[in-house]
């Protein structure tokens, strides 16, 4: 089991827990999607996993080891990468500098850094062409591509994606999902939070739905697709 969350309670103040006992498992090499209405606690769950919030109760296990209490900047060393919501390229740095920062935790190991850069450039030839340009002048789609490429620099086992398609044009949304499918084919364990229900289910293996900080539903993609209309109607 790559990532397992047991009965987690967390929030920004003690009195108001946003997450009120959530359980979740993300299996190795699978895409797990978390759905839910606004305020269900989806993004908060990712933040709690990644150490931005310290859970008041509960356990987060990665590869069977507890990662509760680690700081966000320790997580990549545990093999967990996280794409935060919104733009996160460093706009006034070059594409290559962005990628190098993706490999920050292996900065002493030039050999490994070089190999990682080569493999990223092999996968994203467009980034190689533009590696000397400032990331801020790339198109929206290219910036997302750079963010995804940066995530994989250290070869993490698990990738958390927070709303990867939000705020993008429909054409770019497809592009982003194609990238995620590629990641899936490369056997990364992926946990996605998304508002885009149809798209995210189309690439999912297993689906969780949260409501008001608790588990509402879970099941394999096929079950979920059958009951999709019922579940979404509940949110409205």
């Amino acid at each position: 089991m790559a990532l397992e969350i047991r009965d987690i309670v967390a929030g920004y103040t003690r009195e108001v827990p946003i997450l009120d006992g959530v359980n979740l498992k993300a299996e190795d090499g699978r895409v797990t999607v978390i759905l839910g209405p606004n305020g269900a606690g989806k993004s908060t769950l990712l933040k709690a996993i990644y150490g931005y919030l310290t859970p008041q109760r509960g356990e987060v296990l990665h590869d069977g080891r507890s990662i509760v209490g680690l700081k966000p900047n320790d997580m990549l060393r545990q093999g967990i990468a996280y794409l935060i919501q919104g733009h996160s390229v460093f706009p006034r740095m070059t594409v290559e500098e962005n990628l190098e920062l993706g490999g920050w935790i292996m900065r002493g190991d030039h050999q490994r850094m070089h190999t990682a850069l080569d493999s990223v450039y092999a996968r994203f030839p467009r980034l190689k062409e533009k590696r000397r340009l400032l990331a801020g002048i790339l198109s929206g789609g290219e910036q997302r591509m750079l963010e995804v490429a940066r995530l994989t620099m250290t070869g993490p086992r698990t990738i958390l994606l927070d709303e990867p398609s939000v705020g993008l044009m429909p054409r770019l949304v497809d592009e982003v999902y194609r990238e995620i499918i590629k990641l899936k084919q490369e056997r990364y364990t992926i946990l996605i939070v998304d508002q885009n229900v149809k798209k995210s289910i189309s690439i999912a293996d297993y689906v969780y739905a949260l409501a008001l900080g608790r588990n509402r539903y879970e099941g394999p993609k096929e079950d979920f697709e059958k009951r999709l209309d019922d579940i979404v109607r509940e949110w409205i």
């Binding site: 900047n73 997580m75 794409l83 996160s88 706009p91 740095m93 500098e97 190098e100 920062l101 920050w104």
Partner: protein, 302 residues
């Protein structure tokens, strides 16, 4: 005021060279302030007191111990690096944790408190006596009509060298890249494994080291004294505004310009007016180009 003097090439170059040297001094002081502002957003009003501590460190090494002056400058920079990191970890970091969203205005007030404490502790420990050296390097360069002391040329050389080293560090070193990343998007930087707290602490340390280095280097012009930091900090703030808040190269260019403008205004007006000229210049720039002289991006309005 006799403007025909301006046409005299000897006077023109003389004033220009003096202005460049003065500008290099300001650049050195302003770069540390600008770095801290650019990376952390903190406007460190106690920068002048860090400068002051640098002058005392220099005095201690070169006069009390009698060691050669390059060691004194190195010691001033190193001591202030450690002290700056200590200040950041104990005070500024605590404020950032406790004050939340709008902590930057509070940080400004906090550094004012730091200023008051440091200045008066220095007064208690060292007294009001001025402690300096007449010069670190002797001799005068005569080059046609231009006469410059080697001391000033040394200042110019060291300031340029330090500026270049700082630029290369930020531009090429991996720590420099992490520092820039933290400034541009702290959240994203954290997800890549960069320890933001450590970056801030080191940044503040480097900024303080630059102040200390400036204090050590300029001891013959600004002898050690508890309130010696006041003029430097005002000039540094002026350069930081003129160059664009947090824009280190901009601040350095602004410093050179300000030095030259001041040299001319001192030459043609009585000396007291150069402070008015500086202040007026800053106010005018804030009116017409609030993002600074050398910034292409628009200033964030709020």
């Amino acid at each position: 005021m006799d403007f025909s003097l301006l046409l005299e090439p000897a006077i023109l170059t003389e004033v220009l060279v003096q202005g460049l040297v003065r500008g290099a001094m300001y650049a050195l002081m302003a770069s540390g302030l600008s770095l801290i502002f650019g990376i952390m957003g903190v406007k460190n009003f106690s920068h002048g007191e860090l400068f002051m501590l640098g002058t005392y460190a220099m005095f201690f090494v070169t006069v009390v111990l009698g060691w050669p002056w390059p060691l004194g400058i190195a010691f001033a920079a190193l001591a202030l690096f450690v002290f700056g990191m200590l200040l950041e970890r104990t005070l500024i970091e605590t404020l950032r944790r406790r004050a939340g969203r709008d902590w930057l205005l509070d940080a400004f007030i906090l550094t004012i408190g730091m200023l008051v404490v440091m200045q008066n502790l220095a007064l208690i420990i060292f007294g009001t006596e001025r402690r300096g050296v007449t010069s670190l390097v002797d001799g005068v360069l005569v080059w046609g009509p231009v006469i410059v002391s080697y001391e000033r040329l040394m200042v110019l050389a060291v300031a340029s060298g330090v500026g270049l080293a700082l630029w290369a560090f930020i531009r090429f070193s991996s720590l420099g890249k992490a520092i820039r990343a933290a400034a541009q998007d702290p959240d994203a930087a954290q997800t890549l494994g960069i320890d933001i707290r450590l970056v801030y602490t080191i940044t503040f340390g480097i900024g303080a080291a630059l102040a200390g280095l400036a204090g050590g280097l300029l001891i013959s012009i600004y002898p050690a004294h508890p309130t010696v930091g006041f003029q430097p900090v005002i000039k540094s703030i002026a350069c930081v505004i003129l160059g664009g808040l947090g824009n280190v190269p901009g601040a350095i260019i602004a410093a050179l310009l300000l030095g030259i403008i001041e040299a001319y205004s001192t030459f043609f007006m009585s000396a007291g007016w150069q402070n008015v000229v500086t202040a007026a210049l800053v106010v005018i720039i804030l009116i017409v180009r609030p993002s600074g002289l050398f910034s292409s991006s628009k200033v964030e309005r709020a």
